[in-house]
Symmetry: C2
Subunit: 124 residues, 2 copies
DNA sequence: CTGTATCCCGGAAGATACTG
DNA sequence: CAGTATCTTCCGGGATACAG
């Protein structure tokens, strides 16, 4: 990873932007347990709007990370499930999650310290 | 990670949004090699604007991931370096990078296939 | 129940010019 | 060289209403 603007780094960066969007990780984690219906996902992630849940799932489906199964009953039923590739994503995301949990306190303190320094600099 | 809207998941999600922003990973990777000056970073990441590089570095500094050293000569010289915590971030990011490189082709094909299906659905 | 279609707003980020 | 300031543009995402 010597070359920060190499195709490889761009690839990684664009993937991180996808995974790092507002809802993707929450949906992937929620689907980690197994198949879920649309309405179940909404219940488990109360803060997501209908629109954004749909868009997030569509993008995941487009990338081959989630499969979508429609049962054309009335009312209709749609089940979402991680694909094999989707499940494999949980491992590296888990590594990052572990890192986050381990360092979140340190980061919070660093931020407070930085902001405090900014304030006293402004006061001067 | 049963509960998708638990504080832990929110923490992870917010970290991913930070790491997943447009420039952070490129800067962290570029600093992986060692200390770099502002102008060196600009050269290595040609697509970043001066403004966004400054903002990205400030955020990383605020989080305690990057240290900033000013040498008040004329012209001034500023060196950036990953902190210990910043270096530790490279490992989980590397895992995600490996995943990305391994699956990028599959994802690209999945997208093409999905988009093609969308088109033919629209044609009907 | 599972979407799609619109409208709208705030923040992210580019371009440009200026400063110590 | 290493920023800051300002203006503007663009897009993610929320709210709402409607549809199959």
């Amino acid at each position: 990873m010597k070359d920060a603007h190499s195709p490889a780094c761009r690839t990684i960066s664009s993937l991180l932007q996808r995974v790092g969007d507002k809802w993707t990780v929450l949906v992937v984690m929620s689907l980690g347990d197994g198949t879920k219906r649309f309405s179940e996902l909404r219940r488990e992630i109360p803060s997501v709007s209908q629109r954004m849940l749909t868009l997030t799932l569509r993008n995941l489906e487009r990338d081959g990370l989630v499969s979508r199964t429609v049962t054309p009953t009335i009312p209709p039923r749609v089940d979402y499930e991680l694909t094999e590739m989707g499940r494999s994503l949980r491992e590296p995301v888990g590594s990052l999650a572990d890192w986050a949990l381990k360092h979140v306190d340190t980061i919070d303190r660093a931020r407070e310290r930085f902001d405090a320094e900014q304030d006293e600099a402004k006061a001067a």
